[in-house]
């Protein structure tokens, strides 16, 4: 059974850096993709990008390219989402999710529990 476990809630100040994590287990050798999805307060879901844990190939959604960095540690089966300088607009819940068979068009059938990030002075 595939499981995704995310790091805990974060409260940061504007301008600070942050890295949150998503640890996967139960992955098959043919599908080690993890995607990141943002949900701003009271808003809908937005795909940020995705990474293949096996080789760190990364794809970003156009709206998030350059604003965040997605990385992975294959040995830890963990994906990361990183900001170098947070702003208040980064306040959101961030979910990691697995595309069912690894294709870009796949639905997300396994989700992490979410990491709440609050950026406030």
């Amino acid at each position: 059974e595939v499981q995704l476990v995310q790091s805990g809630e974060e409260v940061k100040k504007p301008g600070e850096s942050l890295r949150i994590s998503c640890k996967g287990s139960g992955f098959s050798r043919t599908n080690q993709w993890i995607s990141w999805v943002r949900q701003m307060p009271g808003k809908g879901l937005e795909l940020m990008g995705r990474i293949d844990l096996s080789d760190s190939i990364t794809n970003y959604s156009p709206s998030f390219q350059g604003h965040v960095t997605i990385s992975a540690d294959k040995s830890l089966s963990t994906a990361y989402l990183q900001w170098s300088s947070l702003t208040a607009s980064d306040t959101a819940i961030y979910y990691c999710a697995r595309p069912r068979s690894g294709w870009e068009s796949d639905p997300f059938d396994v989700w992490g529990q979410g990491t709440a990030v609050t950026v406030s002075s």
């Binding site: 809908g44 879901l45 795909l47 639905p107 059938d109 979410g114």
Partner: protein, 110 residues
């Protein structure tokens, strides 16, 4: 503004049927049969309910069904139950932006 358009809210009484629409364009819903629907209770992660327009993952009741016509996809829930009350999001694969989501629909069971 979300790429896909959903009604903000729908409601129905227990036992009734409701349908949630999701309108996109010829670059997403109209072109690909990769429409999914997710259910989300407040404070919890989304759950996949329908994929590839009308397929149900194992464990999802057959009261949930999906369809598509042109640029609009629909989720129908029949025999509405109290536990169906949640937010529902549609998504579709899109030509230039990978997966796009709708803004969500709040389902209230009266």
């Amino acid at each position: 503004q979300s790429a896909l358009t959903q009604p903000a809210s729908v409601s129905g009484s227990p036992g009734q049927s409701i349908t949630i629409s999701c309108t996109g364009s010829s670059s997403d819903i109209g072109y690909y049969n990769y429409v999914s629907w997710y259910k989300q209770h407040p404070g919890t992660a989304p759950k996949l309910m329908i994929y590839d327009v009308s397929d149900r993952p194992s464990g999802v009741p057959d009261r949930f069904s999906g369809s598509k016509s042109g640029n609009t996809a629909s989720l129908t829930i029949s025999g509405l139950q109290a536990e169906d009350e949640a937010d529902y999001y549609c998504s579709s694969y899109a030509t230039s932006t990978s997966v796009v989501f709708g803004g969500g629909t709040k389902l209230t069971v009266l």
